[in-house]
Amino acid sequence: MFSNFPATPPQASSFSREHDLIFYALLALTIIFTVMVGIGVIYFVIKYKRGSDADRSRPIYEDARLETAWSVIPLILALIMFYFGTKLFITMRVPPADAQEIFVIGKQWMWHVQHSNGVRENNTLHVPAGKPFKLTMISQDVIHAFYIPAFRAQMHVVPGRYTTMWFTPTQPGKYHLFCSMYCGTQHSEMGGTVVVMEPREWANWIENGGQSQASLTLEQSGERLYKQLACNNCHGAEDNMRAPSLYGIWGKKRTLTGGRTAIADQSYLRESILRPHNKITNGYSNTMPVYDGQINEEDVLKLMAYIKVIGSSVGGPSSSGTDTAAAVLNKTKGTMSPFAANAIQYQNSSMRRVDSTPTTRSGELAVNAIAAQQEAKGN
């Protein structure tokens, strides 16, 4: 009878077990205290009912010992629960260095999910079991919240800044994906499914670009957009009179007008693409057109991915997964996308450890293979 009458969400991520431990501990505490108070009340009501002859001499009104007891004991229990809760919270908020990055854009009443090798999905998320994934999320209009009950993971998606969430799926299967922050009319329909697949299965899925038509990797579509928007007219290989060069700026410190400095990370790049007048590189004037309102968040992500890859052979200090796969685009002659290779190698590894150490990438980016395959299919 209870098969289709579940009372607990599935445990499908590395957080679930530890979260449920704390949850059931708190549940036990609640039951103990409620039963204690309940029995106390019922017993006193029955024993000292009006007219019942029970000894009522020397009633106690103040008892310092008792009062300190039931102040200190709940305090200690509370602090214990606080400690475990905070430990889990910190693991939830600090993504591991080797987590693969997925970009999520919340838009009024749908989710765009963008894998860093170009595969795009709407309202669904395909991830392999056993690999940590870091989601960098932003909203294009109102506050949403990316919530996967089975992974016990939830984070607001705020317009105007990136928020981050990470998890390591462990149990293959299909789980719910909800938007848990009220965002308008179809707030209850803004969700979908998270599909956790076997690593090999996922490698094939990512290999043929998933169902959606992602023919190009993020960097490639970024490069195409870079040329389409004629960025290379001003931003050449070296700093020239019109604009600073963007080669190898990822992660470096940039000196700006007015003596301010900023590290060229994701927020800086996004800010400088959308509103260049906010942070003008030293020695230049406010000549770059404003792209705020011309291009949407996905284009920003593509340009940013491409700018990271321009000219820099090794990724910058920041920990997002794509950086380690950087290779100058026009040189590579790879065979298989790094994700697929990495996933399969993971599959063959003898023991399936949940937080498997990442294999160092060979640095080859197999984008051309996918592109060639696409063209073959296309014409």
């Binding site: 708190l26 505490l29 409620t34 009340v41 009522r56 009633p59 606080f82 209009d141 705020v158 009220y182």
Partner: protein, 578 residues
């Protein structure tokens, strides 16, 4: 507290003739009611208007529950469903919970309990009622004109930029109703400080007065912050002054900070008066002084103080910084301690008392049970690890309903029944009321306990459809079943209490034999409360359980059931004698 221990079973037939003038029949004209300065009449005006708004809010609640029984909804479109749950939230929070106990019971009882003739500023008290009605009219005007679909929290980018329902009208209504709450707060603070009867020192104050004082302090320090935050949204919508807009570099999270800086203390505004009522009921129906009087009084102030330090636990996953989250989680656990102390002290008060199981006491005992569950489930949400999974789900909906409906509404009903004879001079039918109290307890648990489970399973808040997750449906069916029982159990008191206004037996000055200055004057009390200002000579709730026990034994020996029903019988016997 009375120098001559009022003998509960020998009803002191008050010497003065039955039809002496009191605050109700002093003047029947409409003008005397609408321009009154008398705190008791203002309390009655509040009672009528707040009950009306509670009725409207309950209709919205019924509609939500009915709509959620089917995964793909029954009669509402998503747009209307969003407006219905926003209406339920706004009406219940701003027009019922924040106002009910402070403005009705607080206004009526504070001057009576401290031996004053009236509130410190009677005309300001009347202004508070008018501001409440104007605010309520604006909110209801907004609702009728098309409703607002941004939820009662009005999170910014949606409420200021993307909601095209009449948010501005409802926000001005809440802004005005906020000032009604501020004026009530000013009255409470100044009256408690300045208008106490001679001999009524701070530690002879009834615990209800302590709770109302703490509520006044929280109102004064919190309400203006939300008033200006909502004003900023009005600025943004009407005058295009961009304050929180993310497009221009503003920060939507700042709105959440300012909103919750008020809204968490607001939940303490709702629950602190309920603690006050609870202490009065437990003390007077267990016929014993409250266990740890000083601790309960100080824990009220502690809750009022700590209540302002914990707003961040509403925002653990809203891109608030991690370190801020850890600090707020720690302080949230500390704020749970005073509430736990109160519950244990009430339970300890029952030890060696003479417990009378009349209706107010059943509500009080129900309160202890429900508030314990409500409070402890709050720990799930204060603890960081579990909050990431449970926030914004039905677990939170169940938690705050356990504390608000299980706590504030149960205490409100208990207090209303307990002081009904004093407010109206009539007795309510004891047996119906007693069974209805049990029905409230059952209906409530059946409604909101399943929501804990469906919340833990991950159903988000404010969801109209869940056809993609049919496993939630059984719990929603149980919850709707319970909500119909609960609705019934809220209608029944409305009926028998209004009926008791005309048909109820006359109440003596002290039908419960309770101790307290409000029971010294006649019921309903004269317009100026006391003939002379009483002088308080001894401690509060000074029952002596042993002598109480002997009186109970003596009463039972005479086979005259000593409590209430005896009241009606003695009234008839007195008529025959005449």
């Amino acid at each position: 507290m009375s120098a001559i221990p009022a003998d509960p079973n020998v009803t002191a037939v008050s010497a003065t003739p039955r039809t002496e003038t009191n605050y109700l029949n002093a003047d029947w004209s409409i003008k005397s009611w609408l321009l009154t300065g008398d705190h008791k009449r203002i309390a009655i005006l509040y009672l009528v208007s707040v009950s009306f708004f509670f009725f409207l809010g309950s209709i919205a609640a019924g509609l939500i529950r009915y709509e959620l029984t089917a995964p793909a909804g029954f009669i509402l479109e998503s747009e209307t469903y969003n407006k219905v749950f926003s209406a339920h939230g706004i009406i219940m929070v701003f027009l019922f919970l924040i106002v009910a106990i402070p403005a009705i019971l607080g206004n009526f009882l504070l001057p009576l309990m401290i031996g004053a003739r009236d509130m410190a500023f009677p005309r300001l008290n009347l202004l508070s009622w008018y501001l409440f009605m104007i605010g309520g009219a604006c909110i209801m005007g907004g609702m009728i004109n098309g409703g607002v679909d941004s939820g009662w929290t009005f999170y910014v980018p949606y409420s200021s930029m993307y909601a095209n329902s009449n948010v501005t009208m409802v926000l001005t209504g809440i802004f005005i109703a906020g000032f009604s709450s501020i004026t009530t707060g000013i009255n409470f603070i100044v009256t408690t400080h300045k208008m106490r009867a001679p001999g009524m020192t701070w530690f002879r104050l009834p615990l209800m007065v302590w709770a109302l004082y703490a509520t006044g302090v929280v109102i004064i320090l919190g309400t203006p912050v939300v008033a200006v935050t909502l004003l900023c949204i009005i600025f943004e919508r009407v005058f295009h002054l961009p304050i929180f807009s993310a497009e221009l570099g503003g920060d939507p999270v700042l709105f959440q900070h300012l909103f919750w800086f008020y809204s968490h203390p607001a939940v303490y505004i709702m629950i602190l008066p309920a603690f006050g009522v609870q202490s009065e009921l437990i003390a007077n129906f267990a016929r014993k002084r409250v266990f740890g009087y000083h601790l309960i009084a100080f824990s009220s102030l502690a809750i009022a103080g700590l209540g302002f330090l914990v707003w961040g636990h509403h925002m653990f996953i809203s891109s608030e910084s991690m370190y801020q989250g850890v600090v707020f989680s720690l302080i949230s656990f500390l704020v749970a301690i005073p509430s736990a102390i109160k519950v244990f002290n009430w339970t300890a008060t029952l030890y060696k008392g003479n417990i009378r199981l009349q209706t107010p006491m059943i509500y009080a005992l129900g309160f202890i049970g429900l508030f314990t569950i409500g409070g402890l489930t709050g720990l799930f949400l204060g603890c960081l690890g579990t909050d990431v999974h449970l926030t914004n789900t039905y677990f939170i909906v169940a938690h705050f309903h356990y504390v608000m409906v299980g706590g504030a509404v149960t205490a409100f009903l208990g207090g209303l029944h307990y002081w009904w004879p004093k407010m109206t001079g009539r007795l309510y039918p004891e047996s119906i009321a007693k069974w209805n109290a049990v029905l409230v307890f059952i209906g409530f648990n059946l409604t909101f306990f399943p929501q804990f489970i469906v919340g833990f399973m991950g159903m988000p808040r404010r969801y109209h459809y869940y056809y993609f997750a049919p496993e939630f449906q059984p719990y929603h069916i149980m919850s709707t079943l319970g909500s119909s029982v609960l609705a019934l159990s809220f209608i029944i008191p409305g009926l028998y209490l209004t009926r008791s206004l005309s048909k109820g037996a006359k109440a003596s000055a002290n039908p419960w034999g309770a101790h307290g200055l409000e029971w010294e004057t006649s019921s309903p009390p004269p317009t100026s409360n006391f003939d002379q200002i009483p002088v308080v000579l001894d401690e509060v709730y000074d029952f002596d359980p042993v002598t109480e026990h002997e009186q109970d034994k003596a009463a039972q020996a005479l086979e005259v059931p000593s409590y209430l029903s005896n009241e009606a019988k003695s009234a008839e016997s007195e008529k025959e004698k005449r």
